[in-house]
């Protein structure tokens, strides 16, 4: 048991060290080229998360046999598409990578007897959800504020807890690794904005974890969806308060962080009330 836990902790430490070292080196290399730094950072995150997937899945199956095997491929695909230097690359990347992720996640269960109606409903609802949350969060990442990585890392950590108690320790491990990679990358280059590509890779990763867990494990889809939209709701509420109360930027920042904490606690409480999890040991 000790060896098992040590291997899991060592994995998370390795993710943190790799993410910090790579981001710090890239930060130095491209210290005067912020645009290049952003491209390098989203590639760095995509590669680290893809390697995490390979490690947790016990290899790099080619062709992938299970939907969670595809997560790393989808992230690399998104990073690649986003790197194409055309003006519409951002939208094309988001649309194509989300479509790819949804298809490879939904097709295995569709082949086992899903009708076209649930397949289509999941596909279009998922795609719309992803694009809307991405749209709201994108603007947060143009500054070097701590709020931006918190809006990505904290939900990933809460997702890890939900996913663990919903029956998948593997996906929970991936969620924690993702949170570590995102948080550490921010601290390595905190003087720079992480950029929209970074948020897109993280959101895609989070989205696919929740999708996999709600379809193939026992995370209730309603809760998965709520957990997915929490960061966007917090940002929108913060903006609304600022508009109504003429709140200062500093207060809006504080309110957003506090709101995120409260919202995630509420999702956790709702999960506990709906699922009534027990310790799986």
């Amino acid at each position: 048991m000790d060896a098992f836990l040590i291997s899991k902790l060592a994995f998370l430490v390795a993710v943190g060290v790799a993410s910090f070292a790579a981001s710090a080196v890239l930060g130095r290399l491209f210290s005067k080229q912020p645009e290049r730094l952003r491209v390098a950072l989203w590639w760095c995150l995509a590669v680290i998360l893809a390697l995490c997937c390979a490690w947790v899945n016990g290899g790099w199956p080619l062709p992938p046999r299970e939907s969670q095997h595809w997560i790393g491929y989808v992230l690399l695909f998104a990073a690649l598409l986003r790197s194409i230097p055309v003006p519409t690359a951002q939208l094309i990347s988001a649309l194509a990578s989300a479509t790819f992720g949804l298809l490879v996640t939904l097709l295995p269960i569709a082949q086992n007897g899903w009708d076209p109606v649930p397949f289509g409903s999941w596909f279009f609802a998922g795609l719309l959800s992803f694009l809307l949350v991405r749209l709201v969060l994108h603007r947060e990442f143009e500054t070097a504020s701590l709020r931006a990585p918190l809006l990505l890392a904290v939900p990933l950590l809460v997702t890890a807890v939900l996913v663990f108690f919903a029956g998948s320790a593997m996906l929970a491990e991936l969620a924690i690794a993702g949170a570590v990679a995102v948080a550490v990358a921010y601290f390595a280059v905190r003087s720079s904005a992480l950029g929209r590509g970074f948020v897109e890779i993280t959101l895609l990763f989070h989205f696919l974890l929740l999708l996999n867990c709600s379809i193939y494990a026992d995370l209730p889809p309603g809760l998965a969806w709520l957990q997915w939209i929490v960061p966007a709701l917090v940002i929108l509420a913060g903006r609304l308060l600022r508009l109504q109360n003429r709140m200062t930027r500093h207060w809006q920042y504080t309110v957003t962080i506090a709101g995120l904490g409260v919202a995630e606690c509420l999702v956790g409480a709702l999960f506990y009330w709906v699922v009534k999890p027990t310790v799986p040991f």
Binding site: M1, I109, S168, A169, A217, P280
Partner: protein, 190 residues
């Protein structure tokens, strides 16, 4: 003596009776069992079963046992270890991933008679989307007429697989690699 007259092959293992031509036995899911045990943390074993999840057919040919065929499938969603949270874990993508791989199947490729009570069955076991050949020794438990007048026969086999060979690697080595299986099949034909 009577037994030696009517004994036939079943499941590469099951026994039919007095038949000259090939006969097909339907597996009775209620009277058939797939039990397993896996070591947990090197301390103890976790036991489980697939409740009512076994089905399939066994075609026997008493005249030519090597032409007998076994075709079985187990619904993975019927897994039961007596603890709902653990069942949830084993059915999740970490292990069996039952929504992506709803069936475990076995298709025989050869059946060889060892003696009247034992057969060697080789076949392809597909678990978690991975197909591997396995060879098992099948013991005949008995045969006779059931309450409805149908011919019933029962067989049993014990064997061990390594889950890592079927790409079920999560939790190794804390959760053992060896999965010990007991498959007890009751089949019937009218």
């Amino acid at each position: 003596m009577k037994k030696s007259i009517v004994t036939a092959l079943f499941l590469g293992c099951l026994v039919a009776h007095s038949a000259i031509a090939a006969e097909t036995f339907q597996v009775n899911p209620i009277e058939s069992f797939v039990l397993f045990k896996v070591n947990r943390l090197g301390i103890a074993y976790v036991y489980g079963r697939f409740t009512g999840g076994l089905s399939g057919t066994i075609t026997t040919d008493p005249a030519a046992p090597d032409k007998s065929k076994v075709d079985l499938e187990v619904k993975t969603d019927t897994l039961d270890t007596g603890y709902a949270q653990r069942d949830k874990d084993i059915k999740s993508p970490d292990f069996l991933n039952v929504k992506q791989f709803p069936l475990i199947t076995f298709k025989s490729t050869s059946v060889q008679k060892v003696n009247d009570q034992q057969y060697t069955v080789t076949g392809d076991l597909t678990l978690h989307g991975v197909t591997k050949p396995v060879t098992v020794q099948v013991n005949i438990i008995g045969q006779g007429k059931g309450p409805k007048g149908d011919v019933q026969a029962g067989v049993e086999t014990h064997f061990t697989i390594k889950r890592s060979e079927y790409d079920v690697k999560y939790g190794l080595p804390a959760l053992g690699d060896d999965v010990e299986l007991t498959v007890a099949v009751t089949g019937a034909h009218s």
